[in-house]
Symmetry: C2
Subunit: 400 residues, 2 copies
């Protein structure tokens, strides 16, 4: 958060809240909204809510097609997150008056060359062993579903994975927070404040960039990739998070384009071993993503990243060449050593982590917010989140 602009807090700000949420991405906003609905007084601190990784996301809700060998507990959490999304979207739309753009047309995963097809077949076998619902399709069947697909696509798998519009979701969450009484502070947290002895620390609040203290019994760290940079945490409470840059392209279908949709459902594929996805929106936008780059806190897209995305996406769906290039945008995912989030109590009493969601922040926002609300109000970690305690890395090295 060190590079973000800092604005002064409003005069007349109370000096005490029940909970301070540090970070206003999709996770922090969801937590703040939920905590306020439970009757707590909540402040959310972010210089520019919703404009970090949440703004760069594509919004895939993709537990099935993101399933990876050895990450079965994350898969179960993702499936729970996806199952929670339809009711969450309805609650969010009702609370905010904004539609978060949930699309439930499914996801088609395709293979481009023979090596890609072999990888897809292995994935189908793996999915079958786990009981995932994946429907095998020939290349011809894929093109029947998506007529604009390249003629050389060799086959695919159809899954139920859906998508939400990440930027509409953020807008809806900001509106829901404001309407439910979350105090939004457009500044940064300078330091987490604690009391007690080293063996028995308790959070007492935060200090803002202008030096002003905010007292609170609970602090929720939802600062994404910036979470480990927060000052004031003892070493064993620093979250094991590092930034992994992702670049997406936003393309727009021109008005009256061939009288047809370019794409009706999320399309994922491997092209010569490289992964690419295309997520369509109701308004004709197609989001192409995403690179995975270890580049520290540099959140600028590179020419090479843009080129790779266009190269691979064109091979799956050649017509994207005719779409308007709106922007290339990068964000920093909060990645963890096991690719799973850090959610729950820490070694510091009252300090709750809600970070490390990596590629799955939008998907896991509803279940994370439910869990954080349960931790803060009932001191209970729900079953679904038991495996994702931040304590599993509490002796991890702080990232350089």
């Amino acid at each position: 958060m060190s590079t973000r602009p800092t604005s002064m807090t409003a005069p007349g700000l109370p000096d005490s809240f029940d909970v301070v949420v540090v970070g206003g991405g999709v996770i922090g906003l969801s937590c703040a909204w939920r905590l306020t609905e439970r009757g707590l007084g909540v402040a959310l601190v972010d210089p520019d809510p919703g404009h970090g990784a949440s703004w760069a996301a594509a919004g895939m809700l993709a537990p099935t097609t993101e399933a990876s060998y050895g990450e079965e507990s994350l898969l179960r959490l993702g499936l729970a997150g996806a199952a929670r999304w339809p009711s969450y979207a309805a609650e969010l739309a009702a609370a905010s008056g904004c539609d978060p753009g949930l699309r439930e047309q499914g996801t088609l995963v395709v293979a481009h060359d023979a090596g890609d097809k072999a990888e897809l077949d292995r994935f189908a076998d793996y999915g079958a062993r786990l009981g995932l619902r994946l429907q095998s399709m020939s290349g011809q069947e894929c093109r029947r579903l998506e007529p604009m697909l390249a003629p050389d696509v060799r086959g695919g798998l159809l899954a139920a994975d859906s998508s939400a519009h990440n930027r509409l979701t953020v807008a809806a969450l900001i509106a829901a927070c404001e309407q439910s009484g979350v105090r939004m502070l457009a500044t940064t947290v300078e330091q987490i404040e604690t009391t007690g002895t080293a063996a028995n620390l308790r959070v007492s609040g935060v200090r803002l960039a202008d030096g002003q203290p905010l007292r609170s019994e609970h602090v929720v760290v939802a600062a994404g990739a910036w979470s480990p940079l927060l000052a004031g945490l003892p070493e064993d409470a620093v979250p094991a998070v590092r930034p992994v840059r992702g670049t997406v392209l936003r393309l727009m279908t021109p008005p009256d384009y061939r009288g047809a949709e370019v794409l009706t459902r999320t399309l994922r594929g491997t092209v010569a071993g490289a992964h690419v996805y295309l997520v369509p929106r109701e308004d004709g936008e197609v989001v192409v993503g995403a690179t995975m780059e270890e580049a520290g806190y540099d959140d600028r897209p590179t020419a090479g990243g843009v080129w790779e995305l266009l190269r691979d996406a064109r091979l799956l769906l050649p017509v994207i060449s005719e779409l308007t290039f709106v922007e290339a945008w990068s964000g920093l995912r909060p990645a963890t050593p096991d690719n799973a989030p850090l959610v729950g109590p820490t070694t510091v009493a009252g300090l709750v982590m809600a970070t490390g969601h990596g590629r799955n922040g939008i998907l896991l926002a509803p279940v994370t917010a439910d869990a954080v609300a349960a931790v803060v109000t009932e001191d209970v970690v729900p079953d679904a989140l038991q495996a994702f305690s931040p304590l599993r890395f509490s002796h991890a090295q702080v990232p350089a």
Copy 2:
């Protein structure tokens, strides 16, 4: 100009000027500045000066390396334009306090494959017959000049062609216009007004978007690709101009990149027959251009255009992959049937054309402004511009 925002003109605006310049790109701004320096009262009308084709340009001053078979009179004009630029840049910097970013490190033209090398050799022969100064270089000599060049570049030609920073040039021109007393009106011209009989028309001024008339003895049409859409012109005075979209990419060298410059001079090349150029700036920016697309008045970049530029530029200078992708930007060049500009008097007395500069607007702005000033103040067309009278197409069809 129909899609641009319209703002109301200021109260207290005089209802009469010596000259009204329609369009505030590099051509219109240069003309207005020159005319004001000649002591005339000048109004310039543009809703957003400098943000059309001038904003999308790369700023190459490239008569030699743009020379084309059958366009020798345009080549002579371009050489005159390039020769005029150093003094023009100095005058502009003195008048405005802004440096237009002239770079005189030359231009290297290279070939990527055998076919490209054959084309380059033909171009070298053509240049030699015309007496152009082109120095042949082996691939190794090219890489000695530009160490980051791809190892498979087969050879090249070194030319004296320079470049200016198009956006700094525009900023300097706006400042020079304001400081010299040009009245800048941020609106559009609704109609050119004329008096007299069909056989003997004379311009009497313009009518602005809000209906306000501005009387003037002279009107200079410098509205680029929008020039033929101006209402009120008799058919034989409608300029034979059509829009040709060009997309450029703006890349930025990261701070302390390898401790080296990516590129020291303009690099042009053909890659499998496609033309691409890379123009370096003092601040580490590299501009990659440019597509040539017939797409009417649609000025949005396409994904395919961006992809082609990156594909070809990467093959000449692979390190651009590591540069920050700042933006893709498109503009509409005012193209003419013979690729040469339309500068000078028209069939309507007092109506002067300064449009149709195609790929050469920045290069030809100084000589065009000198010529327009001579036409308006002395009723004389300088020798250099004699061949570019708009009357040569005065019976051309209006573009659809």
